[in-house]
Point group: C2
Amino acid sequence: MPTSKRRHVLREVRGGIGAPCGFEAAGVRCGLKRKGPDLALLYSLSPAHSAGVFTRNVFKAAPVLITRDRVGRERVRAVVVNSGSANACTGTQGHRNALRTVEVAAEALGVPPRSVLVASTGVIGAQLPMRKIVSGIRRAAAALGPGGSEEAGKAILTTDTRPKSLAVEFSLDGRPVRVAGMAKGSGMIAPSMATMLAFLTTDAHVPSGLLQSCLARAVERSFHRITVDGDTSTNDMVLLLANGEAEAGKVTTRHGLARFQAALDRVCTHLAREIVRDGEGASRLIEIRVGGAKSQGDALQIARTIAGSPLVKTAIAGGDPNWGRVLAAAGRAGVEFEPELVELWLGQVRVVREGAVCRHDERAARRAVGGPEVVIALGLNAGECEATVWTCDLTAEYVRINAEYHT
Amino acid sequence: MPTSKRRHVLREVRGGIGAPCGFEAAGVRCGLKRKGPDLALLYSLSPAHSAGVFTRNVFKAAPVLITRDRVGRERVRAVVVNSGSANACTGTQGHRNALRTVEVAAEALGVPPRSVLVASTGVIGAQLPMRKIVSGIRRAAAALGPGGSEEAGKAILTTDTRPKSLAVEFSLDGRPVRVAGMAKGSGMIAPSMATMLAFLTTDAHVPSGLLQSCLARAVERSFHRITVDGDTSTNDMVLLLANGEAEAGKVTTRHGLARFQAALDRVCTHLAREIVRDGEGASRLIEIRVGGAKSQGDALQIARTIAGSPLVKTAIAGGDPNWGRVLAAAGRAGVEFEPELVELWLGQVRVVREGAVCRHDERAARRAVGGPEVVIALGLNAGECEATVWTCDLTAEYVRINAEYHT
């Protein structure tokens, strides 16, 4: 979470993913989804350093394999993204289609094919309709501009109900540097890679190696701390492009890097929380804090187990302060702790003390889980470590969406 | 799964949990649930050897701690079970209430208090209404009889829609031996202890040590292979009482033990499958078979991950042959395998070959996931090991039940 110290050097700016200098974006409709734009193009006026984090799923979609191979090695000029079809489990034809997508984009933009990255999201197992993709890429290339961020943000969505983006600015040596991002969820979201797509841009000048470690750190604190349904997709990726177009020059001093990291953390945390808030069928954002643990790993494991519990998530959907389910989930996390020392808070209401229910205001507890943001805090009283994760409630609407989302 | 070889020596008999010689049961209403019987009593005419398997949750309900302490050590005469209230996270008062429950039952039956076991299921965190419990136990003791099994089977239920029981008979030295059981689900069902209550009786004469290893083996093959929602409760237990009342005498020969184990496996597997079939909101039983794995552990881990995937379970709820979600779940199980070698079958329809979608009859695939029992088979083509687990689909009804089940 951003601290107030960090906050004062950061300010939000308009312009989304295209806000940093030298980036342009476009989103067009090529007919992969039932409606709305479904193909996005992101373009850097100059070759950019790149960093990426990818799904750990054994089944990796063709675009994941291609992009992973290029990130950090090639100077990147563009990213092409389609929604509606994941191009996963599509065999050699799927691989050829992903390569062709890249080639068409390179041709339309007049850049080398190896400088183009590709990402897909949507239904697994269908081959990409290449005619539509080719036509879409050409129109997107023609539509590129600083104002295309909004359409690009829409074009990467699947079951999301709204676009998610943020751009921030900080100053380095008195000159502005910007970091921006856009992301999509909203099912198959789980820790161990945030199971989603996020694209980040910055006009900072940061070499690839350093860029990769900054990104890994930011992802660990944000996208790795969220879960919607515990499922990890075949297509997840987070990409960060740094084109060095800002006047501030190279970010290499410890001070400069700290500012850059803070800006990146801020954008990633915002996008991660927005993904959960817009989780499939979600009606409430749930923040789960586990404190007093012997190690951060323990705290994280317990927090994730609570966040992954369907019984906790359905209780919150019903506005029910069912703390027993929270304790039951904590108790099966595979972490040893003393149940007699545990306390549990729903918002500002302590409901459990020394491992057992304590006297509390039941109406206040009910109010604490009835709003759009719910905070559940578990104290183990065993150590000094803590962790926070975010999830959403599990509603009948989640089931409806996923029972009807067609193969 | 029972093999045909085993099946021919076993036959199903009537009488439920009271079918083995020397066992009686009763179920009465004492007002813990909104309606129906909610207190069960199980009684053995002679002291029985006992075995038990218990929840691994850090938070263990008071009755779990008391019963775990007695099982295998004391000769058991009775088990008292209430539904409606779990007596978990209830502190020292909860512990005193569980002990008092045992004492009242012992007094009503005229047996030593340490020969009585206790189990509870229901809402976490509420204290037992002891006046109702005491009155219920006395009425149950008076109602005990060979015909009480049906009411006892109803009295242990919570959100289950129907009782689950089975009794089987095999012969040893030409004389009949019986094994019977009853169980309840139906939420908070997960592997690593089947998160439910099951009570098993037999008139075989098997000493406690041997009984415990037979039970552990049967549970590993049945209750540990099912999942409804991945949540493990604070109250799970499986108890087995063996009173030796059958004429066949001691079961100690290898041949006799094999027959006993087969009968126990049959009862446990039946109950486990029935629990899943009656999972909260379930409309379909899903059997997941993973074969061709390098180890049984690998096969089991992948099968469990598929069984636990909300996206797989919602797809099946919608009658959607969404094999991509099955592969995506398999791929995040934490097991290394070659995606290019994988094949996947929905019922009799092969939908994936060499890791990619293959030509198949889509209508047949849809039919394969549209019935009351769905079989999903994943072949890794990497080894000789296999595992089967059972789960159910995830419906909007599951969410409704769990959003409304009151704290």
